[in-house]
Amino acid sequence: MKTRILTFILSILWCAMARAELKWEQTTLELHPAIEDKDAVGHFKYQNTGDKPVRFKSVRTSCGCTVAQTQKDEVPAGEKGEITATFHIGERTGTQIKTVNVETDNPGQAVTVLTLKAVIPQLLEIKPTFVYWQADDAPQAKTISVTAAKDSPVTQIKVTSSNPEFQTKVEKVRKGEFKIDIQPKQTSKPMSATLTIQPENSPKMFNATASVMAVAAAKPMWTPPLMRQAVAPPPGTSPTPASPQP
């Protein structure tokens, strides 16, 4: 009994060992780019631990914002290499997860998914980025909160409205935290403004939007279709069914 169990376990281990040829140092990388970085780059290192060369058939990324490059098309036995994945940050925020699908000619390891996790720091976090008033609402001020990144040197922010019909007032709540009170002069006609928020001593600019909505078109009342009524035709004519009312 013990021999059988041992044989079974050893056979599983042997199968696992025989399958692996392209061994990856890590298949998931977490990157922490700096605030001023435009790209986040991950290096996925591998080694061919098998006794045959491994050929890359395709390397596909999950997003056009990520580009992956192999150093070589074929990896001889015993050789090392890496796939470089470059994620273009653009105007993205928060934690971004992008994948790279690597297809090889090794049937035991046809596709490997490499995962790039980029935690994108924001110099300013703005919430909400959109405030609005419905038509004829009371033109009361609404508040946008601005929080500077930890350890950032932001001590003041400057706010500019693209539309003078919206008034803004900036107040520092505490170190690194601000509030912007924004108020329209009237809400009787639709209008909007882009608020440009700039940290002091930084060329970076952030946006928020304020809008007074247009009056929504009145929707027609829905009435159920009238039941058709059987009407007795006058003598000498064929029956005409009543047409349904909208």
């Binding site: 059988r4 079974f8 653009g90 105007e91 928060g94 998914v113 919430k127 959109f130 882009t194 946006n207």
Partner: protein
């Protein structure tokens, strides 16, 4: 004898269970999108003019083809495109965000930002994405 057989069968499951735990994030039936945030093509179409269709793909993919009436809003040009989208939005509208292929998470990201940053309600991700739209195109 039966006990030995059962033990061997149980042992045979051990590698499978190990892989299921190790690769749990890659299990295909696990969707990162809660069901309440997904919408089918038929349901979204049924919203008629109350739906705003948002294309989260790249500029090139949008130019090539897109759902009629859709607005482009991607993270490459978020600050530039967001005001244009907001100009079309009103509180009674339902926002339907789509991108290419079921595994694509561009739509998830755009939907997340519209909910978290712009604090819009009724923001949904199109189940099946652009490909599902093409399949059911009238």
């Amino acid at each position: 004898m039966a006990r030995q057989a059962l033990l061997l069968i149980a042992l045979a499951f051990v590698p499978a269970i190990g892989e299921a735990i190790y690769f749990r994030d890659r299990v295909s039936w696990q969707t990162p999108v809660p069901a309440s945030e997904l919408v089918t093509v038929d349901l979204a179409r049924g919203w008629g003019t109350n739906a705003i269709w948002v294309d989260a793909r790249t500029d090139e993919e949008f130019q090539r083809d897109h759902i009629p009436g859709a607005t482009l809003l991607n993270e490459d040009r978020w600050n530039e495109l967001l005001p244009q989208f907001l100009a079309q939005w009103s509180p009674d509208k339902k926002v339907v965000v789509y991108c290419s292929t079921e595994s694509c998470n561009l739509a998830l990201e755009v939907a997340r930002r519209l909910r978290n940053e712009a604090q819009l309600k009724d923001v949904f991700v199109l189940q099946g994405g652009w490909e599902e739209w093409l399949k059911t195109k009238e």
